[in-house]
Structures are given as structure tokens and as C-alpha cells.
């Protein structure tokens, strides 16, 4: 009541928006469950993409509900409109369109969304990356990898690469030649995916990679839980780079590596306080792991 009294126009607008959101949500759900086959919905409102994401969040990509919803929106021309808005000059329409396409997992629109990864505006490129992550598949992952290769190394891109990459995509990408930094991103993505198939590549990265690649490789092996990497990671505890020592200690803690306890205790006397702290935490994790 106080809010309405102090800013009545804004409060009314908010109330109207909530009502509109609720109405849109009901119509989209009705379309998804086959209760409404003619939905004159335009997907260009400010909140449409958010509502679509909420409605489709629990739907599997091959579910009948999602397919029905896509078919209804396609028949109404709403999806054509969204595709068209990807070429808009303004930021918000492009962001909304990318989110819409991602929410509907329109695999055939990957080639339309991919160019937005190079957009100067951060919200646009992030929305495009998120859309490709939701759509998934080799084409999406390849678009994200190419963007990373051309300098777009950001957490969002790496996270979405991890999400979209199909089996063996990251593993086979390790064998390709990329500019510096991409291999680190791949290692991070492999760690986030938590697939043991990447262990061999990550181990060779820890053995032969650059300083940064080795640091990330160690952490990724820890996340994956690759116990075969324990000797390699333990050897990294003696490296001069303190970041690598920290990373190796953390990885050994994550792996519950009992065999590395003497080497970790040795790090209690390390001259770097972060290394000492990491070793202490790792030992605590190993003890907890054992018990």
C-alpha cells in the first residue's frame, strides 16, 4: 500500500506486467499441453523470453510438449519473427530473440544465433552463448569453440561450451591446433563436464602444457575424479609455480588421494601462505574422504 501511494504509476505498471506475464504463461502452457492450437502470440515483449524459459525449463528436448509448443509458435509466425529480430540493431530485441530460440531449443537456428557470439555488446553475446548452450549439439559447441578461438574467452562461453558439447567433442578438440588460451578453456570445459574420457588428454596437458594449462588441468582432473592422475598431480606439488602447487593440492584433496599425504604435509613449510592453506584444506578433505 505504501509502495502504491508513493509511486502509483510504477506500481500499476508492475501489476499490469505481472498480469500479462501470467496470461502469457497460461497460453504457452495451454499450447504445450495441446489445449490451444491457435496461439496468436508475438514473442517480442520484454518479458516473453523469460516466461518461455520458465515454461520450457522442465521439458526434455524430445518431449511432445516442447514439440507441440514449437509447432504452435511456428504456425503463428512467432518464431519467424524471433529469427528476424536476431538481425535487429538494438540490443534488447536481439537478446530476447536469442533467449527465445534457446528456450525452444531450435536446433535449426544455430547458424542464425552463432554470429551473435561476436557481437560487441556483452548482453547479446552472452545471450547467444546461453542459447547455444541450451540447444546443445556439435554445431552449437563448434560455434562456441570458434568464438573462444577468436578471443572470446569468457566464463560464460566456457560454461556453455561444457553444456553444449556432445560426447567426445571436447576430447577430440584437444587434438586440434588452437591459439594459446583455447586449450585452457577446453580443459575447464572438460572438468565442468566431469567425463572420465577426457582424463588422458588432461593428464598429458598437466605434463606438457603451459603454466596456465597445467593449473587448470589439475583442477579439472580433480573435478572429474580421475584417480589415475594422482601420480602426475602429486609430481606437480614440487613445481616452482605456486599457482600450480595450489591447484595440485586442491585436486588431490578432491580426489581423496591418501598416497599423497606425505607430500601435502611437506607443503606445510611452503613459503607461500596460499599453498600452505591449500595443503591444509586438502589434507582435511582426504581425512574426511577416508572416514
Amino acid at each position: 500500500m505504501i509502495g502504491i501511494a508513493s509511486a502509483p504509476v510504477a506500481a500499476l505498471r508492475r501489476a499490469r506486467d505481472r498480469a500479462n506475464r501470467a496470461a502469457l504463461r497460461r497460453r504457452l502452457e495451454a499450447a504445450a499441453w495441446g489445449k490451444e492450437m491457435e496461439a496468436p502470440v508475438t514473442l517480442d515483449g520484454p518479458f516473453v523470453a523469460g516466461v518461455l524459459e520458465e515454461v520450457t525449463a522442465g521439458m526434455a528436448v524430445d518431449s511432445a510438449a516442447l514439440r507441440r509448443l514449437v509447432a504452435v509458435l511456428m504456425n503463428s509466425g512467432a518464431i519467424d519473427g524471433a529469427i528476424e529480430r536476431l538481425g535487429s540493431a538494438a540490443v534488447q530485441p536481439r537478446v530476447g530473440a536469442a533467449r527465445t530460440i534457446g528456450a525452444l531449443r531450435l536446433h535449426d537456428a544455430v547458424s542464425r544465433v552463432a554470429p551473435l557470439l561476436s557481437a560487441r555488446e556483452r548482453p547479446v553475446s552472452d545471450a547467444a552463448a546461453r542459447a547455444l548452450g541450451r540447444i546443445g549439439g556439435a554445431q552449437s559447441a563448434n560455434a562456441l569453440l570458434r568464438a573462444i578461438h577468436h578471443g572470446r574467452v569468457s566464463r560464460r562461453f566456457v560454461a556453455e561450451l561444457a553444456r553444449s558439447a556432445p560426447d567426445l567433442f571436447v576430447e577430440s578438440a584437444f587434438a586440434e591446433s588452437f591459439r594459446p588460451g583455447v586449450r585452457s578453456a577446453l580443459a575447464l570445459a572438460a572438468g565442468l563436464r566431469r567425463r572420465r574420457t577426457a582424463s588422458t588428454h588432461l593428464i598429458s596437458l598437466v605434463q606438457r602444457g603451459s603454466s596456465r594449462e597445467r593449473v587448470i588441468g589439475c583442477r579439472a582432473l580433480g573435478w572429474i575424479g580421475a584417480s589415475t592422475a594422482i601420480p602426475v598431480i602429486t609430481a606437480a606439488l614440487n613445481e616452482r609455480d605456486w599457482k600450480l602447487r595450489v591447484s595440485a593440492a586442491k585436486a588431490l584433496g578432491a580426489l581423496g588421494a591418501h598416497s599423497a599425504r606425505p607430500q601435502l604435509r611437506y607443503l606445510f613449510a611452503d613459503r607461500n601462505p596460499r599453498v600452505r592453506e591449500a595443503a591444509r584444506l586438502a589434507l582435511r578433505r582426504i581425512e574426511t574422504h577416508g572416514s
Partner: protein, 458 residues
């Protein structure tokens, strides 16, 4: 209610505006440096189509549908020995084998059961991809493999446009294979669960390489670990002399058991086993050369089934020739030891034998190659042998002087009488390796830990 328009009817509708990004925004110009993967060439498409056509689940698909799938496949190369799918992890792709062989393994600690060896035209990963279950088995590349991967979004994009839902057939197939692998892995571990014997075949493709000597001493080394629980089945036809070399005098053999009724088969078979005071037991395959033909694959299968219940290890000394009986034995063995001498003809024969064993689907970790030096100065070096075999030599036994010949004359086993001899040390290492791979804890002792120590101690 069915939607009026099918999803597949819409294929990347061209936008009304000619460009997607504003003209004054050249930021994506750099992307041209790393171009999109090109559409597959005609030759590539032919290869993809022929791989897909071999997959039985796609028999009902029309050419246009197969072409649509083929276009969406991603080619991946996997070197031999690499893991392609990990048991228990989720998966989102189906892999078609374009070239090479893959081994499907169910890991049931402490054992590892190979449930299938897949070759060109076959596929895997459909269970995790379509049924949403974690991978039922791990898949390893047995040779260098060229795989064609079809991920879930691409699969849906193709199958959703079909009138009949193609995923149903694939899901049915995935379910069938899931049940089949589950059954095979359970059956294969029965032996382990029932504490049945591990059957080890010792095969030497060239006479005079020392196959019989190694099998006898291996039995001796295993008997030191498990007295009274190790048997040597001598199928080195036509002259099976293992018993004589161990100082035992045979009176009966497997060849004479063909007519024994099923009820008394096991008793008669065990009564033919020769016992040595040191521990090893020997069952001769045939006493006279003409009796070798009586040992049929059926008889071998019956005998192994009966003997597995009584012993812990059955070491089978196989002959030089590959007969039906040898092939039957290869099927029944859990491990094969290939003995080669560093001589030109022996290495050539060993390379052929390794190829044959690979074609028979013998997993790499179930094959051990032993290089047995029969002279002071070998004609072929280890590196050359490994190049010829296209794999590493697992164990090398140094020249042991006149000791093996003297032991044969004396009727003793070096692994029991002279543990410091090269042959005895080699046999001990082999026993440790077998114990490490197939051993099971026994009465509180950790045989695996002991075995690994023995292996690393060599």
C-alpha cells in the same frame, strides 16, 4: 490434438532482412578465419551412408532420411586403447564405427567382463542417449577407430520429421541390448562368484619357443601360491610330454574320456589327473599321437566345465597348430599367454598369431606376450619384435643356460627347484601378473596387493 504443422517442416526460414548483424558492426569478421565445417564431400557421404546402411535399426529408413542423418554426423578419430565411453557416466551421442574395432566392457570390481567386440558398421551409446540412463558399460577403442557421432539434438532434428517415430525402434533396440549386456556380464562373472577356476591358455605359434617349459613352470609358480589348486591341461598335440618333463608317469588322458557317461565324467576325469608332490597337477590330453583326434571341442568344453569347479587356475598348454580344439579353448580362456622366441620365423608366426587373436576379439589386457630367449645372443631385438607384433612385449625371460634342458632330464620344475633361475623368475612374474588380473582375495589375504608388489618388484 496434433499440431497443424510438423516441426521438421520448418528448416531455417530465411530472414527477411539480408543480414543478421548490422552492417556497421564488423566484429564477427574474424570468425571467417576459422570457417564452419564444410558440408561432407560426395566420397565422404558415400562412406557415411555405407556405415549407416549396415546398422540394422536403419533398415526401415528411406534413403533421404539416411542422407539427412549422414549429413549431420561428426567424424571423430580415437587412437587404440582410448576410452570412448565410461560406465556409469551420462551420454548424449550415438557412435557408429566407420573403421576399427571397439571393446565393450562391464566393470564389476574386481573383474572386468568384455561383453562385446564391435566392428565396422556397428554402433553404441544408444542406451545412454535414448534411454537417458548412464552408460551400462565402458567402451574402449581396440584399434585406431574412426567414429561417426550423432548427437541428441541432431538425432531429434532428423527423427522428429519422420512420419513413424524412428526413436521408438532405436529405443527398443537399446532396451534389448541393455538386457543382453546385463545377462552376459552376470553369466561371465558366475565363475568368479562361484569361485571357479581361471583358464589360462599358453600358446606358442612356433615349435621350440619354450611354450611347454613356460606352462610347466607357470603351473609350478602358481602351485607355490595355491598348492593343490592349479592344473596343467596338456593339449600340445600330437606329442603331449608335459607329464614326463615334470617327472610324472601318465596312465590315462583326456582323449579316453569321450565315451564316459555324463554322470561319472567328472570323477573319471579327476582320477586321470597326475599329482606331483610339489603341488602342480597335470592332465595329459593324449598319450599316443593317434589319440589326439579324439579330443574334440565338445570334449574340451565338458572337461573345462568340470575342472573349473575343482581348481583355482587351469593352465592349458596349446599346440602349435590352430585347430578346432584350439579355437574352442580360446573361447573358454580368460587369459592367453603368447610365447615367442626372438628368432625371425618365430616373430613372424607370433605377429600372425596376435592378428588372429585380435580378430577373435581377445581383449588386449587379456593377452600377455612373453619373449623367451633361447640363446645368449638373440637374432632379433626386443624393439624389432615389438614393431613386428605392433604391441609391447609384456614379459622378457632372459637366457637361462643349460638349466631348462637339465631340469627336463631330471624331471623337475625350475620354478620349484631353483627359484633364482631366469625361467623361474619369469614364471613367477607371469603368475603375479595373472594373480593381479584374475586373482581374488582368499581368507583375508590381499592377493592383489601381493601380486602388484611382485610385479613392481621385478
Amino acid at each position: 490434438m496434433q499440431p497443424r504443422m510438423q516441426l521438421g517442416a520448418w528448416k531455417s526460414v530465411p530472414p527477411r532482412r539480408p543480414t543478421l548483424v548490422a552492417r556497421d558492426r564488423p566484429a564477427d569478421a574474424g570468425f571467417a578465419r576459422r570457417p564452419e565445417p564444410e558440408a561432407p564431400s560426395f566420397r565422404d557421404m558415400t562412406s557415411r551412408m555405407s556405415t549407416l546402411e549396415r546398422a540394422p535399426v536403419f533398415f526401415a529408413f528411406q534413403d533421404s532420411e539416411l542422407r539427412a542423418i549422414a549429413r549431420r554426423l561428426t567424424r571423430t578419430r580415437v587412437p587404440a586403447g582410448e576410452m570412448i565411453a565410461c560406465q556409469g557416466e551420462p551420454g548424449d551421442s550415438i557412435f557408429f564405427i566407420e573403421r576399427g574395432r571397439c571393446r565393450v566392457v562391464v566393470e564389476k570390481p574386481p573383474s572386468l567382463v568384455t561383453v562385446s567386440v564391435l566392428s565396422e558398421g556397428e554402433f553404441f551409446g544408444e542406451g545412454a542417449c535414448l534411454l537417458g540412463r548412464p552408460h551400462q558399460a565402458s567402451v574402449y577403442a581396440q584399434t585406431d577407430c574412426h567414429l561417426l557421432a550423432l548427437d541428441m539434438p541432431n538425432l531429434n532434428a532428423v527423427l522428429s520429421s519422420r512420419e513413424e517415430n524412428g526413436t521408438d525402434e532405436l529405443k527398443r533396440f537399446a532396451e534389448q541390448r541393455f538386457n543382453l549386456f546385463a545377462d552376459i556380464s552376470v553369466q561371465a562373472t558366475w565363475g568368479q562368484l562361484l569361485q571357479e577356476a581361471t583358464v589360462v591358455g599358453v600358446y606358442s605359434p612356433k615349435g621350440g619357443s619354450g611354450g611347454t617349459c613356460i606352462s610347466l613352470n607357470l603351473v609350478g609358480a602358481l602351485s607355490r601360491r595355491y598348492p593343490g589348486e592349479v592344473l596343467l591341461l596338456d593339449l600340445d598335440f600330437p606329442y603331449s610330454h608335459s607329464a614326463l618333463l615334470a617327472g610324472l608317469l601318465p596312465s590315462s588322458c583326456l582323449a579316453r574320456m569321450g565315451d564316459v557317461p555324463a554322470g561319472s565324467f567328472e570323477d573319471v576325469l579327476l582320477s586321470a589327473v597326475l599329482y606331483d608332490s610339489g603341488g602342480p597337477m597335470i592332465l595329459p590330453g593324449a598319450l599316443r599321437p593317434e589319440e589326439a583326434d579324439e579330443v574334440t571341442p565338445e570334449l574340451i568344453t565338458r572337461a573345462i566345465a568340470a575342472l573349473r569347479k575343482t581348481f583355482r587356475y587351469i593352465v592349458v598348454d596349446l599346440g602349435v597348430t590352430i585347430t578346432d580344439s584350439t579355437l574352442a579353448l580360446f573361447d573358454l580362456t580368460q587369459h592367453i599367454v603368447l610365447v615367442a622366441a626372438p628368432e625371425l620365423s618365430a616373430v613372424k608366426s607370433a605377429a600372425d598369431a596376435v592378428d588372429i587373436l585380435r580378430q577373435l576379439g581377445t581383449p588386449e589386457d587379456r593377452l600377455t606376450v612373453v619373449l623367451n630367449h633361447r640363446s645368449i645372443k638373440p637374432a632379433v631385438g626386443r624393439a624389432a619384435v615389438e614393431r613386428a607384433l605392433k604391441r609391447g612385449v609384456d614379459l622378457e625371460i632372459e637366457f637361462d643356460g643349460p638349466r631348462p634342458d637339465q631340469a627336463a632330464v631330471d624331471g623337475v620344475l625350475l620354478s620349484l627347484s631353483n627359484p633364482k633361475s631366469e625361467i623361474a623368475r619369469g614364471a613367477e612374474a607371469l603368475a603375479a601378473l595373472l594373480d593381479f588380473t584374475h586373482g581374488r582375495p582368499r581368507g583375508g589375504e590381499d592377493s592383489k596387493a601381493g601380486a602388484s608388489e611382485a610385479v613392481t618388484g621385478l
